[in-house]
């Protein structure tokens, strides 16, 4: 499975890193780690320019992270008009910084910088798949 069903609108299908989507299907949000130098990559990449190697492990982003910043998008670009409002956010896990959407279950008034969030795969309409940040229990 490629990237054609990833996110609200996809713009390309093929990538070696498309395994990310396969993992989403299995309920996991993954980063990669270079087997030689240990660098962690999110968004995931399967090539390490430092080592000139393409030898990575997929590692799951587990536990809770901290909300670094966010914005509630009211003005959507073409293709996203019907999706607004949606909230984009940066969430910092222990040593991995991630970008994604905040779950619509979190009310705008409840959003607080520093709040604890987990990242989970979500099914979207039209057979699409993505991930989102939800309140960590």
């Amino acid at each position: 499975m490629g990237l054609e069903n990833f996110g609200r609108v996809s713009f390309t299908a093929e990538a070696k890193a498309a395994d990310f989507v396969t993992y989403l299907e299995q309920g996991k949000v993954m980063a990669t780690r270079c087997r030689k130098c240990g660098t962690k990559y999110f968004p995931p990449k399967v090539d390490c320019p430092k080592c000139l190697l393409s030898d990575v492990d997929w590692i799951e982003i587990k536990g809770s992270g901290r909300l670094n910043t966010y914005t509630v998008v009211n003005y959507g670009p073409s293709g996203f008009e019907d999706d607004t409002p949606y909230t984009l956010a940066i969430v910092d896990f222990r040593d991995i910084r991630t970008f994604g959407r905040l779950s619509k279950d979190i009310k705008e008034n409840d959003i607080q910088i520093g709040m604890r969030l987990k990242v989970v795969p979500v099914k979207l309409p039209d057979d699409r798949i993505s991930y989102e940040f939800q309140k960590a229990d």
């Binding site: 990833f6 996110g7 713009f11 390309t12 966010y70 003005y75 959507g76 970008f99 959407r101």
Partner: protein, 383 residues
């Protein structure tokens, strides 16, 4: 090795809908840039054309514009770093002249955005992010900067009112710029009361899409001193990048690419922030200007908002910034913006900006950013 100077600058009026073709739009900037120079188009050795792709249908626009301005058979080529394309063009022109390959180079930036709706333009700009990982989630330029704004507010206590004050200053100067699109006074209340685009940024915190062109004529020292009444010297050029992906950003409260580009430009010029008499910064959004104050060293990190509170960036203050109204009032025709900023500083340093002149300005700075802080360019000019 001789110095390199800007000998001419021009821009079209920036408008929401220019109603002319791209080539004709570029002619307007070229015409103003060449005015009063003791050379003709035949003395131009090469042209560099900059814009962001996919706003109009013309592919490889450099050949077309070169033909229309009758610069053929001289070499022409296209450079692109989205909103900072014309600064990148200037950097390349500088190095071509320094290398001795050419003596006179024209840098032309343009964008005709009115062929698309604002939402279509936002989609193009969203694809100015990483199309695999970020665009599918609905990233936009304002959204990226809004996340910087929110982080800046959380870390330093910057307020929406302080952001609004940046637009109030912009509007104040926009009124007297005949090339600007928005030319009316705005109050803090007007800005705070405008519709939320992407929190905390509201309509008046955002620059508007526009049609426009700009042209910079760059020349070697021997030519510049001969053909220009007041050559403006390029004292320092700096350029740097940051990641395309939002997750790759190390800082979310300042633009690392601007900090690095400024360091290079100051270093090359042998100058520091305290030496700058007037600056043009890339205020695509109000937060961008606050971060620019800090990234350029006009204020410490976290203290940028104080400068606007104290009106230190108005004429008469410590460091006047965007006294032409900035992108917020002029409009932001992506590829043309950098050249427009250069034009403003050149006019300031020549003492020609009768509508808003900073007294005795001798050293000026241009800060021009591409994308959501992906490409940073800082240029220092001196009289």
């Amino acid at each position: 090795m001789g110095d390199v100077a800007v000998i001419g600058t021009g821009q079209s009026v920036f408008s929401r809908k220019c109603g002319v073709s791209v080539r004709e739009l570029c002619f307007e900037a070229f015409q103003e840039a060449m005015e009063g120079l003791d050379i003709t188009k035949d003395n131009i050795d090469a042209s560099i054309i900059g814009s962001a792709p996919e706003y109009d249908k013309q592919r490889t626009p450099s050949g077309l514009i070169s033909e229309y301005l009758e610069l053929t058979p001289k070499p022409t080529f296209y450079v692109e770093s989205v909103c900072s394309s014309s600064s990148t063009g200037l950097r390349v022109a500088w190095s071509l002249i320094k290398a001795g390959l050419h003596k006179v180079v024209a840098v032309i930036g343009f964008q005709k955005m009115s062929e698309l709706t604002s939402r279509e333009a936002a989609e193009r700009m969203g694809r100015g992010g990483d199309i695999i990982w970020d665009s599918p989630l609905g990233i936009t330029m304002p959204a990226g900067y809004a996340m910087y704004a929110r982080a800046h507010m959380a870390k330093y206590g910057t307020t929406e009112e302080q952001l609004a004050k940046v637009r109030v200053k912009s509007a104040h100067y926009g009124i007297s710029n005949p090339k600007a699109y928005y030319r009316k006074e705005l109050s803090v209340e007007d800005v705070l009361g405008s519709q939320v685009i992407t929190s905390p940024l509201k309509l008046f915190d955002c620059c508007a899409n526009a049609d426009g062109s700009s042209c910079i004529i760059v020349a070697s020292e021997d030519i510049a001193t001969r053909v220009a009444k007041i050559p403006i010297w390029i004292a320092g050029v700096g350029a740097a990048t940051d990641t395309m992906t939002m997750a790759g950003r190390k800082s979310l409260t300042n633009l690392s690419c601007a900090v690095e580009a400024a360091k290079q430009a100051y270093g090359m010029a042998g100058l520091g922030p305290e030496d700058i008499d007037v600056a043009e910064v890339h205020d695509c959004f109000t937060i961008s200007e606050i971060m620019a104050y800090e990234d350029l060293g006009f204020a410490e990190f976290g203290e940028g908002a104080r400068l606007i509170d104290e009106e230190q960036t108005y004429i008469g203050g410590k460091i006047p910034v965007n006294v032409d109204g900035g992108l917020l009032s002029k409009g932001h025709p992506i590829g043309a913006t950098g050249g427009s900023q250069i034009r403003t500083i050149v006019r300031q340093l020549r003492g020609e900006a009768s509508e808003a002149q900073v007294k005795d300005a001798r050293i000026g700075l241009v800060h021009n950013i591409g994308g959501i802080g992906q490409y940073g360019n800082v240029t220092i000019l001196r009289r």
